[in-house]
Amino acid sequence: MEAIAARPDPAAAREPPPAAPGPAAWVRRNLFSSVPSALATLLVGAALVRVLPAAVRWLFTGAVWAPDYEACRRLEYHAACWGFVAEKHRLVLFGRYPFAEQWRPLVATLLVVAALAASAHPRSWRRWLAPAWAVVLAAFFLLVRGGALGLTYVDPGLWGGLPLTVLLTLVGVSASIPIGIVLALGRRSRLPVARGAASLYIEMVRGVPLITVLFVASFVFPLLLPQGLRLDPLARIALAITLFQAAYMAEVVRGGLQALPKGQLEAAASLGLSWWQAQRRVVLPQALVLVIPSFVNSLLSTFMDTSLVTVVSMYDLTGALRLALGDPQWRNFFIEGYLFVGAVYFACCLAMSRYSHWLEKRLGRWARRPEASAA
């Protein structure tokens, strides 16, 4: 009896062992929890201790910040020459756009960034958002192209740098959305012809690299147009990027359409809505909202893909950097140039991917709420 009474009560909840607070315990847990881990910490720590101070010295403390070629030359590569960036940043950021008019693409880009920031929060997703974006795009074109309102006309062959990247991204994504929706609906259609045509297009375009599509745009589009008609090179590239992105957009929308519960379509049918009405009023609004984070990822991948237009001799941000590095004096400071452009891309892309994560979490909460309230 005493033995049974002495046994600890199995049903009573026991306290978990205390997780030791404080930095010392954190270090023990995360850096020295086992012998391999301790070894790794020592190795990586030693490497960092050697590399980091030298890197900071090279990047910041010893570097030359003024656009002084002589000072840079004297450095003999022992420190960074940010003077290259100071000297050439306008060429890199704006390409061959006329020097005196470069405020125009700058204002246009800032306008787009402001519009992006304003439409970031789901609270601003109202009916006026799409017309507002159309106005922003029109203002962008007007500012960069000129020819009206007292602004001098600038030939599209001279547009370049970051504004060109932004332009190609925006036009590519916004024009590929409707085409992608049509293709996704076609791919899920009951009609074999529609399904076959849409699937063929999507698989063919997704199977080839973007460079091939850009080559098609440069070499084949002029052959396809009737004699006497010709398309501006920039328009050709924008069209190529649009058609390419449309296939990927179609897959994104198709994912959304598949995630929608079948009950929605059945409910719409039971209400007497035709197929088109059901798609327009019930299916697409829900499906598109579901895939908004994937839209943002498409925006991100289009932004990165526009860097390929340098292969077909358009001077976007990457192409303009190569143009700047063509200067014989500053050729040798290519590391600083690539760090600068890499940092610009990194900042923009990191912001977009973080935003996409935040949006996913937020929309996840939002999508769950109707179920909870129904219950």
């Binding site: 960092l48 052959l223 390929l308 292969v311 590391i335 452009v341």
Partner: protein, 386 residues
């Protein structure tokens, strides 16, 4: 009364009407474009047809598995381009998978430093466009490495310079041919042995697994063949000549830059895939495996890995395809892959349409083969719902 085939009133009639209209629209658009193309081609007096494939191309291809000279045909040039593309794609896929798995597991490590380092690597490389990374790697290779006439010797007879990486390779002899011929029988024998051992264990419940003996058998056959062929051990060594290092296997800086750039870029994406695959397996599985008495190694091999692979394989397939497609960026740094050679061909003979058709068909074919292969593997690891 039976409704007519194309009627507006019945559902199927409407469906047929829509499809007929769609077909007609597509056919009309295709006919218009074809007519425009023909008109433009005749007006510009550009030749059409694939006859140019049999003509000498007149240009040289600097590197590759296929020996190509200026008197060889366009067809051989394209074949050399395809070989170069596959060469960088296969090497890239293997290396990227290895690196990506390591980095992905590193992101899950208990050690905070390793975790941060791997996270930093993934975030950095995923958010900078690939073409910038390739240009940067290429400039590092051509500006920072020493001149080809005075290379760094990484090891005896292994040289690294602006001219690329050169290392010795065995001189082809009968012994090597026999070793190569003995590889399939060796693998077959190893497989037979492993199957027999496994069948015996399943039947009687006893007996060793014979994994190591089977592996030894697979190696022993080629070694025996090599010995039987006279044990050739002559190596072709790279030598530093007046301008360059010549001899041995030569990997140009273009190939190296492309390979390193593609590997590091794709590894960042593969790391994410591996990480999400491992995280997708519920922790309860590990605990259940421990409760069953499996050692950690057995638990990983028999419980975690199969379930993780199920989640990993589909996105991994698309990353492999992306790597193959991204290898077309070789045209920017001067590596003669398929797109680069087709570009040169278009400029030499003006037949853009035919060359682009060739490029697209090759990529679609590679796509199809890879998708089929990975699809077979996916079905093997997929969940068989009971």
């Amino acid at each position: 009364m039976k409704a007519p085939l194309l009627s507006w009133s019945t559902r199927s009639g409407r469906a047929r009407l829509y499809q007929a209209a769609l077909l007609a629209a597509i056919a009309l658009a295709a006919a218009l474009l074809w007519r425009n193309t023909r008109q433009n081609l005749t007006a510009r007096q550009i030749r059409t047809g694939f006859g140019f494939l049999g003509q000498p191309a007149g240009f040289d291809i600097g590197e590759g598995l296929v020996r190509y000279g200026p008197t060889d045909t366009y067809l051989l040039a394209f074949a050399a381009g395809i070989a170069n593309t596959l060469r960088v794609a296969v090497a890239g896929i293997v290396l990227a998978t290895v690196l990506g798995t390591l980095v992905g597991l590193g992101r899950l490590s208990r050690n905070a430093l390793v975790r941060w380092l791997c996270t930093g690597y993934v975030e950095l490389l995923r958010n900078v466009p690939l073409i910038i990374q390739l240009f940067a790697w290429y400039l590092v290779a051509t500006e920072i490495l020493p001149e080809a006439s005075s290379p760094i010797a990484l090891a005896p007879h292994v040289y690294l310079s602006k001219g690329g990486l050169q290392f010795p390779h065995p001189v082809w002899a009968r012994g090597w041919a026999w070793a190569l011929a003995a590889v399939p029988p060796g693998l077959a024998a190893a497989w037979v042995l492993a199957r027999w051992a496994r069948a015996r264990r399943e039947r009687t419940g006893r007996g060793p697994r014979l994994a190591w003996p089977a592996a030894l058998l697979a190696v022993a056959f080629p070694v025996a063949g090599w010995l039987a062929g006279g044990a050739p051990h002559a190596l072709e060594l790279p030598e530093v000549t007046r301008f360059n290092v010549s001899g041995g296997v030569s990997l140009t800086p273009e190939f190296l830059a492309l390979l390193v750039g593609l590997c590091t870029f794709t590894a960042a994406f593969i790391a994410e895939i591996v990480r999400s695959g491992v995280l997708a397996v519920p922790h309860g599985q590990t605990e259940a495996a421990a409760a069953l008495g499996l050692t950690p190694r057995q638990a990983t091999r028999l419980v975690l890995l199969p379930q993780a692979l199920r989640v990993i394989v589909p996105p991994l397939t698309s990353q492999f395809l992306n790597l193959t497609k991204n290898s077309s960026l070789a045209v920017a740094i001067g590596y003669p892959d398929l797109v680069s050679i087709a570009n040169t061909a278009i400029n030499q003979n003006g037949q853009a349409l035919e060359c682009i058709v060739v490029i697209m068909s090759v990529y679609l074919a590679i796509n199809l083969v890879t998708a089929l292969g990975m699809g077979w593997y996916n079905r093997r690891v997929a969940l068989v719902e009971g």
